[in-house]
Symmetry: C4
């Protein structure tokens, strides 16, 4: 709270009220702003998606175009408001959410400057990343942090796993390129590696599939490997989550008389020596 005051020092009264409206969601006004923003984001994404459907674009193209400019206008106003009610706007501009907020409005403006930029309109889908603002809204912060911590702690082990998988697909992709007929789709090593990824992840499109006996044996090996080694990242993440959950379920409090730790959060007496905690 004090830190927040600190941050807002030097702001006018209307700036502080604006700040409260936009950046905080504890009060009804801030909550309403967040809900309205969420609705705008989702609606604008829906418009982007529907506009890409040829038949709908033909019929409602003009309407979608108008809506698009309304949303872009709203997001532009919001972006400017976010800038003027904080003390250090540059920190917001270069933050992750600030960049996303900017990317959400840039493509529409570019599309009138350059004709070729039409295809960049798809980038408006990045607006969806703004949805992660809503975690503030629904009090999922602690779950978010739990997941992030567990996934982050798993990262080093998982990156070894990914490196292992990539090595396997490159080598086995090369081997199957050697043994398989080019006519069955294994036209090059990159293509065969792509097939190996499709197979080891158990996706299995079937657009490319082995036809020779040797190819089928290698394919069977890759499939069984992919089916089995999914256990590795799962094991890693589960173990990290179990550790994170255990750490959270034990207080860090040591018994003042015997010094032992590992007490439950609701414990009032040391379970080892009976002293008051």
């Amino acid at each position: 709270m004090i830190q927040e005051k600190e941050n807002n020092r030097g702001l006018h009264r209307w700036q502080m009220q604006l700040h409260e409206l936009i950046y905080e969601s504890e009060k009804p006004a801030g909550k309403a702003f967040d809900v309205a923003l969420l609705a705008c984001i989702l609606l604008s994404i829906v418009v982007v998606m529907l506009d890409s459907v040829a038949s709908l674009h033909d019929r409602f193209g003009g309407f979608f175009y108008a809506l698009e400019w309304i949303f872009t206008g709203l997001f532009t106003v919001e972006y400017i408001l976010r800038l003027i009610c904080i003390r250090r706007p540059q920190r917001y501009v270069f933050s992750f959410l600030g960049i996303i907020d900017l990317l959400a409005i840039i493509p529409t403006y570019l599309s009138i400057l350059f004709v070729g930029a039409q295809s960049l309109m798809v980038l408006r889908a990045l607006r969806l990343l703004r949805i992660f603002r809503i975690f503030r809204l629904v009090h999922f912060i602690s779950e978010m942090r739990f997941l992030t911590v567990a996934v982050m702690n798993s990262m080093r082990k998982i990156s070894i796993f990914i490196l292992f998988v990539l090595t396997v697909v490159v080598i086995l992709g090369s081997v199957i390129y050697l043994v398989e007929d080019e006519n069955s789709g294994f036209t090059s090593i990159p293509q065969s590696v792509y097939w190996a990824i499709v197979t080891i992840t158990t996706v299995g499109y079937g657009d490319v599939a082995p036809v020779t006996t040797a190819g089928k044996m290698i394919a069977s090996f890759i499939m069984l490997l992919g089916y089995g080694i999914i256990a590795v990242p799962t094991g890693i993440v589960t173990t990290e989550m179990a550790i994170a959950a255990r750490n959270r379920s034990h207080s860090n409090q040591a018994c003042p008389s015997c010094g032992k730790e590992g007490h439950d959060h609701d414990a009032r007496f040391c379970k080892y020596c009976g002293s008051v905690l």
Copy 2:
């Protein structure tokens, strides 16, 4: 037992006997009723399924139609019996199982009132939900509760995961719509998002598959992502189940002085009041 008596106060003797028959399965008669009901549900589902097969419908259509009315009659009688042997029928009518029971008979009656309602006949498949009544029969209640608790506790974390997956498929679906040829099936963003879901869940129909190099690289990324992040919900559910199992394995010992439970197996002093256990 006392509560049950309470519930049945004001019922006639025949109503209570009926109640025992229909709602309880401890006694042989109630068990027999449940088994007969289960058989009717399964048989009626089989009839619905077989009737949808064109060749069988042509040959046995009349027979299936007759069977359908017999089952509908039986379920209607059962529904009425359920209503008249409880003190507060309205509570049953608006309960989950009550609504399912009603949905199981409504479509057949509607099909004679409206010609267009023919297609609603498929809703009779909802009858299958009535199968969950049998848990009462096979004493799987505690396992059911264990699973429900673990899944419920995981819900907040899993909904973050689902939101993350949905964001990923919308953004990557848009990106692949941008880079892929329309002729290979990526005709619109919703279609591309559908493809991204097919890919990230490792289903991989292959009805739509990338053909450009850039598209295949994005596809490979989505596949590896989908292959890896399956670890997250698995880790969440496993951790919650482990916690649920551990809570169950807590000693049942109550503190002799304050009467509270929930002590670890190795605790020597009550963690709430400090007495020797």
Copy 3:
């Protein structure tokens, strides 16, 4: 050892030697017998498999036929030997492995009695089940028991899960039959349920795939559901395995002085009160 003696009472000396050769693998002779048997089983399976390949059948059909009779002869002799060197042959005959052993030789004899029985030759693949005899050979018994216990303990929870999955595929299969075009392969409810199973298990052949927007939305829902709920059986089995592993890693020994349990197998003193265990 004593129990074994008991079992063999009343057998001649040559019967006991034969019993040792066939039923036990501790001694070199028994081990050699097991290895030879294993080789015969695998070879006979290979012959069955290769014989089903049309081009190989045309060229080596006679050779395969001769081999088949040699293997059948060997297995028949082995079956008879197994019978005559135990005190209660009927117990072997009706045991699981005894039935498998009989099924391994029956189809070949039937094929000369009845012409139509030719197709039963495929049943010879059941011979492969005899491979589980080798666990005796490689001392994997304790791992086998660990897995069996964990899977068995999970069975009640997993059967609820399977029932849930089956209910989901029947209901969603019926719904997609309602909304999808018959021309895209959803010709009947059983066919649609089959598709729903292909989808929820993330297999995704692609022989049947939705084409309407509503169908694709339902398909997306089934895919995400199938992708997510795989966490449930995994969580169940992992939790049971963790419990089985914990039980194995702790001795059941209670401290004679303080009565506490939970000591490691290699503990010689109580970790709570310091007494000799």
Copy 4:
């Protein structure tokens, strides 16, 4: 450190400096060497992959050929340097990494000796295995060891699981060969077993798919089985990882009287000698 000195005894000063450069990565020079080597490995793999693409081979074939000889030259020089700066070159030659290093250069030389060896060029993809040298670089050794230990400890249980899966696919593959039409792709038992592997691992290419009702029922069974039993290897690996993580979390405290370690965090007395910890 002393052991290293021991190993290097008898080496000239320049050999020791070379050894430090090539085999150690603590010092800047060694680190730079490792990074350069890593870049060469990855670049040479990229060249191999691109060269296999027909259109690129036609345009840049000569350039790729030249690059290939440059990389082969560099790797040959590196191989020789590795040999001359250690005391026992034969130990390096027959080590895993030594064989990989040799395999990385052999195919190129063979391709000029024998015309038919052209296809062996694909073996150059094995160079990628050399990438595992980089773990030394990024200090991932402890994570690597953790994963290796957990996977190794799971091996016996997982091999039972694999044997089970193989038995299932052979038997069910034979059964579906019996019931399915040959025209739908089930032309032989090996082919049907291949299909069963594609199905049980949930890959599902769709190049072969059942068309008869009986075949679809068997397929549904295999799918649900494959979907469910993935829980088994996952459970095994997760449990082993949890044990490995717990062992690591054991207190490092050595008993002051007997010096043994491995005590639980809550142990108050040495479990080996009974002294107060």
